[in-house]
Amino acid sequence: MSKYPEYSHNKSREWFNRALDVIPSGIYGHLGPSEGLFLPLEKWPLISSKAEGTYFWDMDGNKYLDLMCAYGPNVLGYNDPEVDAAALEQLKSGNCTTAPSYKMIECAELLVDTVDTADWAYFMKNGTDSTTFAVLCARAYTHRKKVVFFKGYYHGNDPWAMKADYPGITPQDVANNIIVPWFDMEALEKAWEETGGDIAAIIAQPYDHGNFYDNVCATHEKWQAVRKFCDEHGIILIFDDVRTGFRLDLAGSDHYYGIKADIICFCKALANGYNMSAACGREFLKAAASSLSFTGSYWMSAVPFAACIACINKMKRLDTPTLFRQKGEKLTSAFKKAAEENGFSLVVSGEPALFYLRIANDDSLMLHQEWVAECVSRGLFIASHHNHFINAALTDEDIALAADIAYDAFSVVKKRHPEI
């Protein structure tokens, strides 16, 4: 008998069916089942009704301890009172206005003061906007075409960042992409030679936090070698800190790894769920950034700027990177213990603030998917093949509850697989 009974999702399912009628795939992208990661589908809540702190509730009233944090934006806790108060206060004064609000300038100043490499900030809405801006900026400055990616990359959904076999993408869209293994200096040198020096930028996440495999942290030495290579060849180094930003180091993940990127891209943790992204860069790129034709209808809305200011100030006060490392280590230790006690080998990888999980008892990941489904259907929302996120509202009691549900789910899977 399971300690945590399984949830039912009848109402959520009804809402999802309505979504399927009017929205392609119901919920497109990573928040929905269309990428095939909700296995089996009936175990997952799909649609939420409300959220608070580190929890959300589905349409059936089931409560979930959420370790995905909206895939990153929830950094302080859902509905953080300080951030929401700042946002609501700004809303009363104006949001999307003809002349942008002074909040934009305050926000840029705060980023320049906070982020080590930032001499300026440029604002947009999504992570993809930010990485696209960075690549345009690098090309405008260098007058070169090619961009180097590290294998397993993900830098958003604009055509240049995708692959030629993705629907709607042409080989020409990605003709200037060069993919090399992570930190392979020989491959970088070879790419430089083969392109005759036509490399505008290297774009990379701070470490390899890809899906379907154990995440691999970087080192100071490896990043220093890449930084040196870029300096020697006049290549712009772009840090895609969209996922990791402010979770490893408030001064930027490049700072965390002991280097200075030329452009750093932020989004998820910037404003605790209010919609904005930013790219910050070094002084020598400011003119190139100014030269770009790159803007959008809502990019200078004031409410997210107010939220961002409140969010960054609170993250500083709490020292969230230290907090997240401690909570991540405590949580994953508890998960590993629960696994061991049930005969499972749980591999934890990546930075503790963004830990990645994999049950290593089989190489097909099917056991892992079973366990994740049993966790989710008992109120612990985790993901099968994506890194997880810590938020500042996660308490020690929440960690204990997460470990207990994880244990319960392990025992359910163990009963199903007596061979373990």
Partner: protein, 254 residues
């Protein structure tokens, strides 16, 4: 954009690659095989393309790679020429066992391929017969499965998907009806017409009607996946890449 070389692989591994299942499953094909007096092995050798040998006897058809043990051989000077044989019936150049080959191709082989065409491109009227409908859908699945590997190893776009696929067996099938295995090794794909014993990933359609709709493009793969009618499990990046190749299959074989 269709590439002629990749089309030749899709035709050889997808369309002609289904002949052995036709001979195994279809009563009409079994009757046609009874006309064979002596076993015959026919090789289709495409310059800068695939080369496979089809071994026929009264019991059925087996397919082997290359020209070894072929009694008869037909050469094609280019993938385009081979594709003309598949699409328009224009033969290549007989180079071995010429008379035997021409007699077989113009007789039994043509009857078999005509029957295959009836099943792979069925009329609406024929599909009203449930047994025919099921057989047609199963053979379509085998054709698609063969073409997945053919294209994964030859089409420039599908090869990108193959290049991102890790080693292992993917089980592809229709629940309680049929399963095939797509085996990936060093980014090369091979279709096995047997159930995977230890699959690394699974993609299984809930029933044959759903499979028919998916193959014919009348229902949405994503929608059905979201409805839970397509069972997925395991290393989903493998399934993801196969889905991208499936998109190429529909381009090549539609």
């Amino acid at each position: 954009m269709i590439e002629q070389k990749a089309l030749a692989y899709a035709n050889m591994y997808g369309v002609l690659g289904t002949l052995h299942k036709l001979c195994e499953l279809d009563d009409s094909a079994k009757k046609i095989l009874q006309k064979i007096k002596k076993p015959i092995s026919v090789c289709f050798d495409v310059k800068n393309g695939p080369c496979r040998t089809f071994h026929f006897d009264k019991k059925g058809c087996k397919i082997t790679e290359g020209a070894e043990n072929a009694d008869c051989k037909m050469s094609f000077s280019s993938p385009e020429k081979f594709n003309l044989m598949i699409n328009e019936g224009k033969p290549g150049v007989p180079v071995k066992g010429i008379i035997k080959l021409l007699v077989f191709l113009s007789g039994t082989f043509t009857e078999l391929t005509n029957r295959l065409t009836e099943l792979l491109r069925p009329s609406d009227e024929a599909l009203k017969d449930r047994a025919f409908f099921e057989e047609s859908t199963l053979l379509t699945m085998y054709t698609v499965a063969g073409a997945i590997s053919g294209l994964a190893n030859s089409d420039s776009i599908a090869m990108i998907s193959a290049g991102n696929t890790v080693d292992g067996d993917v089980s592809l099938g229709i629940k309680d009806k049929a399963q095939v295995t797509i085996r990936i090794k060093d980014h090369r794909f091979e279709t096995l017409y047997t159930e995977a014993q230890n699959p690394k990933a699974i993609m299984e359609f809930a029933d044959i009607d759903l499979a028919y709709g998916l193959f014919g493009g009348t229902v949405s793969t994503i929608n059905e996946m979201c409805k839970g009618n397509i069972r997925l499990a395991g290393v989903l990046s493998m399934v993801d890449n196969i889905n991208r190749i499936l998109d190429r299959v529909s381009l090549y074989l539609s």
